[in-house]
């Protein structure tokens, strides 16, 4: 009897998605798909709006990483208002944006690791779902849960100081920023009451990394082999090869570490990136044009960033980066669960960057905006917590948005996530007479490693519905169970 298994919704991720797994009458997994079942339409409905509204409009895509969309749009508009890319901004403009961005990274990564991912690690993939959640973490590992909450709070306060609000602020404007950082704000972050200060955040980020490494030692099989498959990797890097989450050039490597996109200008991304449409998903499938739809897919996000960059420009994160790279003898790391490791190294890097930036007097400058010769088109690229984020706008003669194309991080990871689902389903469900809750959670664990934002801003806590439907070979429903 063939069966179709549906996991809907996928839980502890941002947004709403579902997984379908088809199993034939011999028990073989024949087809797996991660479906994105929401439709947002931002690219269309912002057409006609004045271009300077874009950073505030498009950030509504997400409640977790609005800063990423805010900044990617602002960077595209920097080009349109003639401020150029990156270096064209005033030091205050660029550094305030960077501070906002690293605050965003810090809070988002903390949220993901402590609240979304850690229940699987702390309690096990097969654990009772009644305890395998953030409340379970809070009850059994109070210190860890409190740290997660306060790390997120610190990041959110940084965002508020730079963007005006913790969620959906308006700090970045075309050509710069609308406020600087006051001395009082700086002091509150550097000398704030324990534990809400930059030194403590660096310490806690290191502690989270130590926790993961200890866990890794005890669970090598799970961490190294779960949903492992070779892939290409893509991210921004600084021109000298350093990790840079805010600005740089576009680099991609293949599974052996060979450069397949060699530090190119992202303004020309349309020459290198294309998107495939498949009829069963609202989410497109990007690929490197020169390698084609079949071979051109790639991973983005923390794992990809640590694979593509040459070094990390903060000392503590650089030491961890060296350990990370040594683990695979310098070769690209293709282990899905190492996303968590990479994410925690980035969390530490973000904390160090925040501390470093807070000591920079440029944050208090009054020269906030750069305006130059108007352009009709601009591309903004940024490394969002979940991966490389493209924003591309064209305006008409009346300053209205005429065209928008957004390739969000999770879209870039669409093919890898589908492969991860297939990998786990094939290895865990093939030949099994009974599909257990633990098996289905394993599929979710693979998806969760990518920290996807499936449609943004849909969050739930508690008793999430899960439905399994069994179909016969004629696709007729024979049984359905839900919880």
């Amino acid at each position: 009897m063939s069966r179709k298994i549906t996991i809907e919704p996928v839980t502890r991720v941002e947004g709403h998605g579902k997984v379908t797994i088809h199993i034939d009458h011999e028990g073989n997994v024949t087809q797996t798909r991660l479906h994105i079942v929401e439709f947002r339409g931002f690219e269309r409905f912002i057409q006609g709006r004045p271009y300077w509204e874009a950073p505030v409009l498009v950030e509504r895509l997400c409640g977790i990483c609005p800063v990423s969309h805010h900044l990617a749009a602002a960077k595209a508009l920097d080009v349109i208002v003639g401020a150029g890319t990156g270096e064209g901004l005033t030091p205050t403009g660029e550094k305030m944006r960077r501070l906002m961005h690293y605050g965003q990274f810090f809070q988002s990564h903390a949220l993901h690791f402590f609240h979304l991912a850690s229940p699987d690690l702390l309690f096990g993939i097969d654990a009772d779902p009644a305890i395998r959640n953030v409340i379970g973490v809070a009850l059994k590992h109070k210190d860890l849960a409190v740290q997660g909450v306060l790390m997120r709070k610190f990041g959110q306060e940084i965002i508020k100081a730079t963007a005006g609000k913790k969620i959906h602020g308006t700090g970045a404007i075309p050509g710069g920023i609308n406020k600087n950082l006051s001395i009082e704000e700086r002091d509150s972050f550097l000398k704030g009451p324990d534990p809400l200060n930059a030194d403590k955040m660096v310490e806690w980020a290191s502690g989270a990394l130590d926790f993961f490494k200890t866990f890794h030692k005890g669970h090598k099989e799970l961490i190294d082999n779960f949903s492992k498959f070779p892939s290409s990797h893509l991210s921004l890097v600084r021109k000298d090869g350093a990790m840079d989450l805010y600005h740089g050039v576009l680099r991609a490597i293949d599974s052996q570490g060979r450069k397949i996109l060699n530090d190119v200008d992202y303004q020309e991304y349309t020459q290198y990136i294309n998107e495939e449409v498949r009829p069963w998903s609202y989410m497109k499938f990007p690929y490197l044009t020169h390698l084609g739809e079949t071979d051109g897919w790639y991973r983005v996000g923390p794992l990809a960033r640590l694979n593509t960059c040459d070094f990390i420009p903060t000392p503590l994160a650089q030491k961890e980066f060296e350990l990370f790279r040594a683990y695979t003898n310098g070769k690209p790391n293709n282990m899905c669960m190492h996303y968590h490791w990479a994410r925690l190294i980035e969390t530490l890097h973000a904390a160090e960057m925040i501390r470093q930036l807070l000591h920079d007097p440029d944050l208090h400058g009054n020269n906030l905006v750069t305006i130059g010769k108007k352009q009709k088109e601009g591309v903004g690229l940024i490394e969002a917590p979940r991966g490389t984020l493209f924003h591309h706008y064209r305006i008409n003669d009346n300053d209205q948005i005429e065209m928008a194309n957004l390739i969000v991080s999770t879209t870039n990871n669409n093919e890898p996530m589908n492969r991860a689902v297939n990998c786990v389903a094939t290895s865990m469900m093939t030949g099994k007479k009974e599909i257990t809750e633990g098996m289905m959670n394993a599929v979710e664990v693979a998806i969760r490693a990518y920290d996807p934002c499936l449609s943004c801003a849909t969050h739930a806590l508690g008793n999430m519905p899960l439905e399994i439907s069994l179909y016969d070979q004629n696709n007729s429903l024979i049984d359905r169970k839900s919880k």
């Binding site: 004045p50 300077w52 509204e53 950073p55 509504r60 963007a163 959906h168 404007i173 406020k179 009346n398």
Partner: protein
């Protein structure tokens, strides 16, 4: 010296000057009567009716009513607050007011009044009208989605010869505020900014200047609308 008169608002004895409009006299006495279409110094038109109060038992608009001796005014009752909420809710559903991305958010009188009167969700169905953004003028953009037809721009924004740059166009539910295309060409930066400032919502925008005022520094970020008047009480 102008003649002094006495009147009461909600039982509180107030003093004013003969010929003074009620909203102004109330303000001088530390009492806030909400207004939306009214601009101090410009002849009132009573367009929006948000300032309706009861004067000796009769409903009247406080922006256009001059005070007189012995007036007994009712301004703050649950029924009047409800009536003001209804007007606000009608204005919200009649247009497309997306506060979250509006440049005027925090400086918007309509939004501020909605907060003040505790509007959570409108009781009327949204109409979602299809309205255009007129971006054809060199200095300003007119977003018809947000226009509440209050007439403030028509009354307050004139060129050096006293001609109105804004005017009503068409009638009924097709009524719009349009910009005279020739006069708009002669708009100075100062007058364009004044047009944006005089608009109580985000319908008139100065080009390329959006979001320059950070959140936290906008008019109604720290205190609700009217509280600056009430602190004088």
């Amino acid at each position: 010296m102008s003649e002094k008169i006495a009147f009461t608002i909600d039982g509180v004895t107030c003093k004013g000057e003969k010929g003074q409009f009620l909203v102004d006299a109330a303000r001088d006495n530390g009492i806030y009567i909400p207004t939306l279409c009214n601009i101090p110094g410009v002849n009132p038109k009573s367009c929006c009716r948000i300032c309706t109060v009861y004067v000796n038992g009769l409903p009247m608009t406080a922006c256009s009513l001059q005070v007189f001796d012995g007036m007994e005014i009712i301004n703050d009752t649950p029924a009047l607050i409800e009536q003001r909420k209804i007007i606000l809710e009608a204005l919200f559903v009649e247009g497309n007011h997306y506060c979250p991305f509006c440049e005027k958010s925090g400086n918007c009188m309509l939004q501020a009044l909605a907060y003040r009167f505790g509007m959570l969700a409108p009781r009327f169905p949204y109409t979602f009208p299809v309205r255009e953004v007129d971006a054809s003028h060199p200095k300003i953009i007119k977003d018809q989605n947000r226009c509440i037809l209050c007439k403030r721009c028509i009354k307050a924004i004139k060129d050096e010869k006293g001609r109105s740059i804004f005017a009503y166009h068409r009638r009924g539910n097709k009524l719009r505020v349009h910009i005279d295309p020739k006069l708009a060409l002669a708009l100075t930066d100062e007058l364009a900014q004044k047009a944006m400032d005089v608009c109580p919502v985000g319908s008139i925008l100065v080009r390329e200047k959006g979001y320059r005022v950070p959140i936290g520094q906008r008019t109604y970020d720290k205190m609700p609308i009217g509280s600056d008047i009430e602190v004088k009480k």
